[in-house]
């Protein structure tokens, strides 16, 4: 191949932890990186968490230095509110078309003072906060989001529905709001692509016996993370719907495991983390964990399990779980292994659902021209050769987009993909 | 040199100007010694603002720059670059945060102004004691030493080797391949391991940039990132010791099995036909699965989690390979009865549960059990256990296969000493950060991959080896000099009394002891500026550049006056 045809730049899709790590490493090696991110913020799912296992490190504190490095790195072209439209070419010379939605806020002028939020007349449920609090049509998903620049949600902004409203623009002292911004089509020439689009969680509504969406105070993992988060909807106070603190909590593992057909590998560990969350804020709380097999591989994980066990948690191996309302509380019906149905009454239930691919995975796979496996994740060509290599040379799949895994494994994969790219030339 | 401090206060639009009486701040600092100019500006971080600062520096001959504005997290770098552009050393700059720490936290304008004055004066007091710091550039050697010739070592070597980067692959046994040369197949696809290995080992053979040393061990490792000196001793007769230099070291020394003899109730080495998983793999690879008396077993018990409680962690691979064993047995001895005794079935990963679900059928039993004890029963073995419901049970089998925990290889403690990295949980090498730094260590230039870092399966091992390659390829570039951290520790020879306290508390192994002068010396290339030595030094000999006693003392003194 003619050397002149090799594009040295790299496209990274997804600015979560894996995408950020890959971008920073590539930049360090002197490569220019185009980091395409779907949302208006960086950090991905990790910034939803207050703490991470197994040493309960503050998650945002862990991620923030990386985000900062990212935002100040001159080699990294961060393209937000974007998605991949189209890819042509092959390994070494891909031509990528990116559709970038307008933010309507100028990244250079905006200093993040948040003065534009108050006057906005539109209020709706904040998706980042799992619907537990509200946001405006011009918003940042949470306090501390980086870049600290809001976006206008054109689906709900009344100006974009034809009404005359300039409330946010008037409140801005820095000329940062520009309604004339247009969506863009960007063309990138890259030599390699790293797909780091992350994951979603299984919707427990699909297993009606868990009562999710029907019974009050049944939360999924992300909702509970936001309840505990100090920058969350309750500023970290764990409260149930009546505004009180729960006295007893049931944590249900393996939600959706049977339906999906695989073990998501992180849920037992984060359920233990939830234990820690609860006991640190509500010292007298009674916790019961309902699990099938305790899956905690890894040299540091069992230590954490032993520590949590000592806090007096009830660990109950159970199946046939059925959740029902009982007065103000919730009854968890279960089969404890001795054949008999048993039950426990709690104030709050937390469901640990399976990790599933993002909704747009199969669409993105078609665009990229790579295969998807039976579970909907991007398919590695041969994991005994390298689990980050997709079915198309030059396209690497990392993190949870390739399969459920924890942060350490995602970061390892991102680093491995960079290794493969750097050794390609 | 005549010091000329320039103080610039950013209005940050209305953010600061409406909350802080900037004119009062200007008045408070103008009369200070050696403050040559004090100005306010609408938005210093804007393009115009940056131009303004450069012009001002040149116009007034400013030697030290103080900016009172937003958080250093926002624009520390911006202003340092401006200094550089204007010919001022970027470390002769101090940023006072009068926005996040002042204007944004109170509505009381008087309070905010008073605090802003304090913060600005404190920055001025501090900057008087700043010293210009220069970035260093160190030559580095891009070559790599890989210790361990198993799949991780092989993979890393293949990724790293190139005409401008030699790889020295050192293996203590007489051949490459490591643990998996003993396995017939690997889960979940049941691919022959020889297939996986053969291609890679051929590639290593053919690669002129990989020098393989079998029957060899590292005898000495000195130096630091970019500049390691290695001595290998090899059992080969002609060569005594081999010396070479490298820039990075990869520890891919793998793991061994926990010795079940330590738990007598498993009957290992007490009774015939109780074997470990590794022994079974070897037996299976040879093609014939037999008992001691030469006959095929008609019934086999496989015990999971051997040694798990003692070691205190789950080794991740054993449940999966124990299921693989069921397949091995059924493939070769179709009528054999197999029972697996496990505590928690650990099958994480997208295709692993399916592997388990497809390994079911006639004469295959998965039994959740605890309190396992193996005793002899005539020619056979009796597996006593307590089942899920708590009742005592037992099963008689011809052969018992024990699936023990994975332990780090026996060389770990020696290598840990050579490299200055610790052995963490389970005795495995300690990674730099559990989440964000799995393959780097506290010693810059030393990397870990595979089971030497923690128990894991083959695909994850390969990934870590590739990750190490990624780290090295991006930080040790042939021809490119290393730019070490500037704000490092410095130990004064006249104060140092040679008590060696700093050596004990340095987490990065960058302090050495000069026996002639009886003083400690900091290696500025690998010092990360953490400050442990500065805090611990009993005689105040250690100080941190850009965070000296006087700098901090003066700043605090002024701030709390």
């Amino acid at each position: 191949m003619n050397d002149n045809d090799l594009y040295p730049d790299v496209l990274v899709i997804g600015a979560g932890l894996a995408g950020i790590e890959a971008s920073l490493m590539l930049s360090k090696a002197g490569r220019k990186v185009h980091l395409v991110e779907n949302t208006s913020y960086t950090g991905g799912t990790a910034i939803k968490f207050e703490e991470v296992f197994s040493n309960m490190e503050c998650s945002t504190c862990m991620v923030a230095p990386k985000q900062q490095e990212l935002l100040q790195d001159k080699n990294i072209n961060l393209i937000m509110l974007s998605e991949i439209e189209n890819i042509g070419g092959s390994s070494g010379n891909f031509v990528v078309k990116v559709k970038k939605k307008a933010r309507y806020v100028d990244l250079q002028n905006c200093i993040g003072c948040n003065a534009c939020f108050e006057p906005c007349p539109v209020s709706l449920k904040n998706e980042f906060e799992e619907g537990l609090s509200e946001r405006k049509a011009i918003y940042v998903p949470c306090a501390g989001a980086l870049p600290n620049v809001p976006m206008i949600d054109t689906e709900h902004c009344i100006r974009f529905k034809g009404k005359k409203c300039t409330a946010c623009q008037e409140a801005c002292m820095f000329d940062a709001i520009d309604f004339n911004q247009k969506d863009e089509q960007i063309e990138l020439k890259v030599g390699a692509i790293i797909v780091a689009t992350g994951f979603n969680i299984y919707d427990p509504k699909q297993v009606p016996q868990y009562g999710y969406g029907k019974i009050d105070n049944v939360y999924n993992a992300f909702e509970f993370e936001r309840l505990y988060a100090s920058n969350g909807p309750t500023e970290g106070k764990i409260l149930i719907k009546n505004g009180k603190t729960p006295k007893s909590v049931g944590i249900i593992h393996c939600v959706g495991r049977d339906k999906k057909g695989y073990c998501s590998s992180v849920c037992c560990m984060y359920s233990l983390k939830f234990n820690h969350y609860l006991t640190s804020k509500i010292p007298e709380v009674k916790i019961s964990e309902f699990y099938t097999d305790f899956c905690i591989p890894g040299k540091s994980h069992q230590k954490f399990y032993e520590k949590m066990k000592n806090t007096g948690t009830n660990l109950i191996r159970a199946d046939n779980i059925e959740i029902a309302k009982k007065g103000q509380g919730i009854v968890i019906g279960y089969n404890g292994g001795n054949g008999k149905q048993n039950s426990a009454t709690v104030d709050m239930v937390i469901l640990a659902p399976a990790i599933i691919p993002r909704d747009n995975t199969s669409d993105l796979a078609k665009i990229l021209g790579i295969n998807v496996d039976d579970y909907g994740f991007f398919k590695e060509e041969d994991k005994n050769v390298s689990s980050v290599v997709s079915s198309k040379p030059g396209v690497f799949i990392v993190g949870c987009s390739q399969g459920p895994k924890n942060i350490q494994e995602s970061v390892s994969q991102a680093t491995a993909a960079v290794g493969k790219i750097l050794s390609m030339s | 040199m005549d010091r000329k401090i320039g103080v610039y206060i950013c209005e940050c639009g209305p953010n600061i100007s409406e909350k802080v009486d900037i004119d009062r701040v200007i008045q408070a600092v103008s009369s200070l010694n050696d403050v040559a100019v004090v100005e306010r500006y609408k938005l210093l971080c804007s393009e115009d603002g940056k131009k303004f600062l450069v012009e001002q520096i040149k116009k007034h001959g400013i030697t030290h720059l103080v900016v009172a504005a937003c958080s250093p997290r926002e624009h520390q770098q911006t202003f340092m670059e401006i200094c550089e552009n204007a010919g001022v050393n970027p470390y002769l700059f101090q940023l006072a945060n009068i926005r996040e720490q002042c204007a944004w936290i109170t509505d009381d304008k008087d309070k905010a102004t008073k605090k802003a004055i304090r913060l600005t004066k404190a920055a001025i007091s501090r900057i008087r004691y700043h010293a210009p710091l220069e970035k260093k550039q160190i030559e580095s050697n891009p070559d790599v030493l890989v210790i361990g010739g198993g799949i991780a070592g092989i993979e890393a070597s293949l990724q790293l080797a190139s005409p401008d980067r030699q790889v020295y692959l050192v293996e203590k046994t007489s051949s490459l391949g490591g643990m998996i040369t003993n396995f017939e197949k690997t889960y979940p696809d049941m691919r022959p391991c020889s297939e996986i290995l053969k291609q890679k080992m051929d590639d290593v053979d053919k690669n002129d940039n990989i020098k393989v040393f079998t029957d060899s061990e590292v005898a000495e490792l000195l130096g630091f990132f970019g500049n390691f000196q290695v001595k290998i001793k090899t059992k080969a007769e002609e060569i005594d010791a081999v010396n070479f230099d490298v820039g990075a070291v990869v520890l891919a020394t793998g793991s061994t099995l926990f010795d079940p003899q330590q738990i007598s109730q498993y009957g290992y080495k007490k009774f015939d036909n109780v074997i470990t998983s590794l022994e079974f793999e070897k037996m299976n690879l040879s093609g014939r699965i037999t008992l001691k008396n030469g006959k095929n077993p008609k019934s086999v018990g496989i015990i999971h989690c051997v040694g798990r409680d003692k070691k205190g962690y789950c080794s991740e691979v054993c449940c999966m390979y124990s299921i693989k064993f069921v397949r091995y047995l059924k493939d070769k001895l179709s009528d054999v009865k197999v029972s697996n005794f496990y505590s928690d079935l650990c099958v994480p990963g997208k295709s692993h549960q399916q592997f388990y679900e497809k390994t079911q059928g006639k004469n295959i039993n998965f039994i959740r059990a605890e309190s396992i004890e193996i005793t002899k029963k005539g020619d056979q073995l009796s597996i006593k256990y307590q089942d899920e419901k708590g009742s005592k049970n037992n099963q008689v089998v011809d052969m018992v296969i024990l699936s023990p925990a994975l332990e780090p290889s026996s060389d770990s403690s020696v290598l840990s000493e050579f490299t200055g990295i610790s052995q963490g949980d389970g005795g495995f090498f300690e990674e730099e950060h559990e989440k964000l730094g799995p393959v780097t260590t506290s010693t810059e230039g030393v990397y870990i991959a595979g089971c030497s870092q923690g128990p894991k399966n083959i695909p994850d091992t390969i990934i870590q080896a590739e990750a190490v390659a990624g780290k090295i390829l991006s930080s040790l570039i042939p021809g490119k000099k290393i730019e070490p951290e500037v704000k490092v520790s410095h130990i004064s020879e006249s104060f140092c009394i040679g008590c060696k306290t700093c050596l004990d508390v340095c987490s990065y192994g960058c302090i050495t002891f000069n026996e002639t002068k009886k003083v400690s010396v900091v290696n500025e290339v690998i010092c990360r500026g953490c400050g442990n030595c500065v805090a611990a030094c009993p005689s105040g000999a250690a100080s941190l550049k850009h965070f000296t006693f006087n700098q901090i003392y003066q700043e605090v003194k002024e701030a709390v006056k």
Binding site: - | S494, D504, K518, G540
Partner: protein, 379 residues
């Protein structure tokens, strides 16, 4: 490296004193030198002028008879003497150092700090009755000697220094051998070995430790408990006296920055003390600024800073030997204060300075499970 971590044997040897106990000890040392067990002995001796005692390193065994193992004052801290012999490495002479428990403990601390090499040194401690304040002795040496001899005989410590009166470690064994006078039958004393080195020496001297030492242990325990009671009360009173910033400043207001306390302190081994260096010398503008802000500034300044700084530097190794208070020209109760604080700082880590050479310095070790009281509280 010698290990002093073995507990004292439960058996000792009983030596009869033919003339007096000090003479008996000296005889033993002489015999040891004659048999080449030691090449030299480091022991206190009265100066020719008669008004002081110093440590001497004796190689001529005929001079041992003039030494005074139980000297009434501690002019030079024994640890400083031992440390200067081996600061730059172990010597070839086998030396026996006869010192008080606090001097031995200070030596052990200095060993951990690489200032002393104990390979060829045998540390011999004794039950310490305490010492007098130096100034009390030098005023009238003859009278003081008599007072001291009486005090030892009657186990009366009223004339001893304040820190000695509340010292609960006056019989602590952390060296190689210990001379136990308490609880011994009249005109006898115990010799107890505390290490392999100690055992070997007794072997070479033909002394077999086969007697029970219960009576010593009991007496030592009783005295230590009494002293602890006194210590607790004294510390309580002292805390009330110097507690709070104003009281602290008042207490140290007499300090003249002479740095005597630092110079005699065995733990202050720095070549150039931080507080003697340029780092604490400020440009005149700074002094003028302070004078302007506060109205006036005293000289020399930074005295309390020096005291607190020195305390911070050495508290974890402080052995409460009291040398500092002995030499303070302004009679500040430095030793009492520093000793009280040392009890607490060392107590945080369950550490006793000099107890055991193998016990690492607290600042140098990290334990995951410690100092929880310092952690941030979760809200």
């Amino acid at each position: 490296m010698n290990s002093y971590s073995e507990k004292p044997d439960n058996k000792g040897a009983v030596i009869s004193a033919k003339t007096s106990i000090p003479d008996s000890i000296k005889d033993l040392l002489k015999k040891a030198m004659e048999n080449d067990v030691f090449d030299a002995v480091l022991i206190p001796m009265r100066v020719p002028a008669g008004d002081s005692f110093v440590y001497v390193l004796i190689q001529d065994k005929s001079l041992i008879k003039d030494a005074s193992p139980f000297s009434p004052i501690m002019s030079v801290q024994g640890a400083k003497a031992v440390s200067s012999i081996t600061r730059l490495g172990k010597g070839n002479l086998k030396i026996a150092a006869i010192m008080r428990p606090c001097e031995i403990r200070a030596t052990v601390e200095l060993t951990k700090l690489d200032q002393t090499n104990l390979e060829n040194i045998t540390l011999i401690s004794m039950d310490c009755p305490g010492v007098m304040p130096i100034s009390d002795f030098t005023k009238e040496p003859e009278k003081a000697m008599k007072l001291y001899d009486n005090a030892i005989k009657n186990l009366d410590d009223k004339i001893m220094r304040p820190v000695c009166q509340i010292c609960d470690k006056s019989s602590m064994v952390s060296g190689d051998l210990h001379i136990g006078t308490l609880g011994a039958k009249k005109d006898t004393f115990f010799i107890i070995s505390n290490s392999q080195k100690g055992k070997d020496i007794l072997d070479k001297l033909g002394i077999t430790p086969k007697e029970k030492i219960d009576s010593w242990q009991t007496k030592v325990k009783t005295i230590s408990e009494e002293k602890q009671k006194k210590r607790k009360k004294a510390h309580k009173d002292l805390k009330a006296q110097i507690g709070g910033l104003d009281n602290l400043l008042d207490t140290f207001s007499q300090c003249i920055n002479c740095h005597n306390c630092m110079r005699v302190c065995p733990i202050c081994y720095c070549r150039l003390c931080y507080f003697d260096s340029d780092n604490v010398k400020h440009p005149s503008e700074d002094y003028l600024e302070i004078a302007k802000n506060k109205g006036s500034i005293r000289f020399s300044p930074d005295t309390t800073l020096f005291q607190m700084g020195r305390m911070m530097h050495m508290s974890l190794s402080c052995v409460s030997c009291g040398s500092c208070e002995d030499v303070c020209p302004m009679s500040i109760p430095v030793a009492q204060i520093f000793s009280m604080v040392a009890d607490e700082t060392q107590g945080l880590f369950d550490y006793i300075a000099g107890r055991d050479t193998d016990e690492p310095l607290p600042l140098r070790t990290y334990k995951e499970d410690e100092l929880h009281e310092m952690e941030d509280a979760h809200d």
